[in-house]
């Protein structure tokens, strides 16, 4: 048999009907994660056609995007955000009830951001096909799953048939050689990757991240890497499962148990790209020269090293427009910019290791005067684990806010927003115009860089804290 890639293996195992010149493949979906924002119109379609949800057991519903991160005890609290957001959340409860879905709702200890709880519960597993009406579904590829974001119409397709119509994408190998230097995180690495390939470098492709530097990463770091595949235009990013993956999944609530665990591990260990398999494109980076990375513009590809000057875009109108919006000058490093808001959280960097990194920098320090810092755990489980380690106390003592789980200030749907014109250093994934609030200026960075910036009151190199 000719050598195949990790992607090829997962793809071909899920073909219900093969693609032809005239028709796309029917691809089976093993896990469908759903949330309140991108599903109401899909449930309406099911009602119009009198269709049930085909596989409630393969559907994992929660609420994260428009939910408050202040403690909620009743729907009256939700109305504080907006009546429409409260209505959307209520509709999610109604839809799950009506279609027999087991909602991880308010008051459930397992609630959190879709891409944080899937792995945390052990529902995300190597070799699965995983989709969600959210572009950061690529996160789950860290386990060697084929995972990608879909629109609401496709959410309806999966609810009704557990399948999607798909054309086979191309493959892109991103080889990261060397060793990541101490003090540099997965976020710095993925920002450097996007800087190299550009925000459309992965369009039409599924990425496989490979190489020594990737193998050395823990699962939470791998999730940060795969999470931002979409910011390079790729719908999916994958990392082959290994002992690190198996160890992470062992004993989780939805991981296979007993004999099923042993056979699953044996199957997972075969999920790797064969020697001699070819990719449609490939890119190589050396991790050993990495430094902390920060964005300076209005997309994640506009990124520089923390002490490097912001480049000069010449007469490129889109580039100039981005710098004007950001009020950032070419030729100067980002460390010259004062900071108003710092956000640590999101499906990119809202896991326990991220909170630990922020707390490490904040230990014995104070958030600078005039800076608001918000730390939002990615799930209620992350919150509980962080509190068990006393991280919440470090964060609160430093003068930052410690919240309930949710997407929060990454997308600003729940009332957690950055005021117009203010500069935010954020561990989230998008620095688009207005993403964190109307007129908000976002600098993407790692949790350590974000915390260092909160303490210094300007964009700061975390390596100055040790």
């Amino acid at each position: 048999m000719s050598p195949t890639t990790l992607f090829d293996k997962v793809w071909s195992e899920h073909i219900v009907v093969p693609e032809t010149a005239d028709t796309p493949a029917v691809l089976y979906i093993d896990l469908h994660i759903i949330h309140e924002v991108t599903t109401p119109q899909a449930f309406s379609v099911l009602r119009e056609h009198s269709l049930p949800v085909r596989r409630p057991d393969l559907t994992l519903p929660t609420m994260d995007h428009s939910t408050p991160t202040t403690p909620v005890s009743s729907f009256k609290d939700l109305a504080v955000v907006s009546e429409q957001a409260a209505n959307q959340i209520r509709q999610m409860e109604v839809n799950c009830e009506e279609f027999g879905l087991d909602l991880i709702g308010f008051g459930n200890d397992q609630r959190g951001i879709v891409h944080v709880i899937g792995p945390e519960l052990g529902a995300t597993q190597p070799g699965k096909t995983i989709v969600c009406g959210d572009s950061h579904s690529s996160t789950h590829g860290a386990f060697g799953a084929l995972a990608f974001g879909i629109g609401t119409t496709e959410v309806g397709h999966v609810l009704a048939t557990q399948c999607l119509l798909q054309r086979k994408p191309s493959t892109l190998a991103i080889n990261v050689d060397g060793t990541i230097p101490s003090g540099i995180s997965a976020k710095d690495l993925i920002l450097a990757v996007i800087g190299k390939i550009g925000v459309d470098g992965g369009t039409g492709h599924v990425i496989e991240y490979r190489g020594d530097a990737i193998r050395q990463l823990d699962m939470e770091s791998r999730m940060t890497i795969c999470n931002m595949s979409i910011e390079g235009g790729a719908r999916a990013g994958m990392i082959a499962p290994d002992d690190t993956t198996v160890e992470y999944l062992h004993g989780r609530p939805r991981s296979p148990q007993g004999a099923a665990w042993d056979s699953a591990v044996a199957r997972w260990q075969a999920l790797r790209t064969d020697e001699g398999a070819t990719f449609d494109k490939s890119v190589t980076l050396d991790a050993s020269s990495l430094q902390p990375m920060v964005t300076f513009g209005t997309n994640p590809g506009m990124v520089v090293g923390i002490n490097e000057p912001v480049p000069d875009g010449g007469d490129d109108a889109s580039f100039r427009k981005a710098l004007d919006y950001m009020r950032v000058a070419s030729g100067k490093p980002m460390t010259e910019n004062d900071v108003d808001v710092v956000f640590v959280g999101s499906c990119t960097n809202g896991r326990l290791s991220d909170i630990r990194e922020a707390a490490r920098v904040l230990t014995g320090q104070k958030v600078a005067d005039g800076v608001r810092m918000l730390v939002v755990p990615g799930s209620q489980q992350v919150k509980k684990d962080a509190e068990a380690e006393g991280l919440d106390q470090i964060i609160i003592e430093a003068g930052a806010e410690w919240r309930e789980a949710g997407c929060s200030m990454c997308i600003g749907m729940n009332g957690d927003t950055v005021p117009s014109g203010k500069l935010s250093v954020s561990t989230s994934n998008r620095n688009f115009e207005g993403r964190q609030g109307i007129g908000a200026r976002t600098v993407l960075a790692s949790p350590a860089t974000a915390a260092a910036s909160a303490v210094r009151g300007r964009v700061a190199d975390p390596r100055t804290f040790s």
Binding site: E13, V16, V17, A21, D22, T23, P24, V26, Y28, D30, L31, V37, T38, P40, Q41, V45, H49, R54, L58, H65, S82, Q84, N87, Q88, Q91, Q125, D134, S135, G151, T152, T153, E154, G156, H157, A160, T161, Q162, C163, L165, R167, V199, D200, T203, G204, I230, G233, S263, A264, N299, A317, S318, G412, M413, S420, F432, E433, G434, R435, I438, G439
Partner: protein, 194 residues
């Protein structure tokens, strides 16, 4: 969905590169549970200033944009979020097609599902369209060609199935459901169960 064979219209041009779906429809408008009525919030922060007044320089606010069904945008249009609210908002506003030199994957898929025609053209054609806002062009979906006012005819790529669904107005859920026996059989025969 009714079938679409031809779209003839003047163009309105947004030359900026990498216009993301947050620009197309901001997250604060996503708390709706309907597909309808999003057009008024399309490109909201580009169309209106902080006081809610129209920005006269924004192309969609110009009188010449009225009645234009075709949007020409800078490279990599629709990048970012998977929100289908983006094509819903464009269509609710009145657009029926988007032309660029590159269109992001999820946005393109979502557009096709709703009958918003994504047209990807070569660099030269794209540059000509960017330089000539208001050009009267015709998209022939059946033959996947774009006709320019100087009688140039440019072919654009489109998946055969996507084209068929657009032209015939096929609901893809109906097509997918025709495979329900194959799906049930797959669930039975696969070596491991999720």
């Amino acid at each position: 969905m009714s079938g679409i064979t031809h779209i003839r219209s003047r163009t309105v041009v947004l030359p900026t590169r990498d216009i993301d779906t947050d620009q197309i429809i901001a997250a604060r408008f996503l708390t709706t549970t309907s597909r309808e009525g999003l057009g008024k919030n399309l490109f909201y922060d580009l169309r209106y200033d902080g006081d809610g007044n129209e920005r006269p320089e924004f192309p969609l606010n110009k009188a010449s944009a009225a009645g234009c069904d075709i949007l020409v945008a800078g490279n990599n249009f629709g990048c970012g979020s998977s929100r289908e609210h983006a094509p819903w908002a464009l269509m609710d506003f009145g657009f029926r097609a988007v032309i660029s030199s590159e269109i992001a994957d999820i946005f393109r898929n979502n557009s096709l599902k709703n009958g918003l025609v994504p047209v990807v053209v070569d660099q030269d054609t794209h540059q000509w369209l960017l330089d000539n806002p208001g050009a009267d062009v015709q998209i022939d979906v059946e033959n996947t060609t774009l006709s320019l006012p100087d009688n140039r005819v440019v072919r654009f790529p489109m998946d055969a199935f996507a084209r068929y669904c657009l032209v015939e107005g096929i609901d893809q859920l109906g097509y997918l459901r025709q495979h329900r026996d194959a799906i049930a059989e797959f669930e039975e025969r696969r070596a491991w169960k999720p």
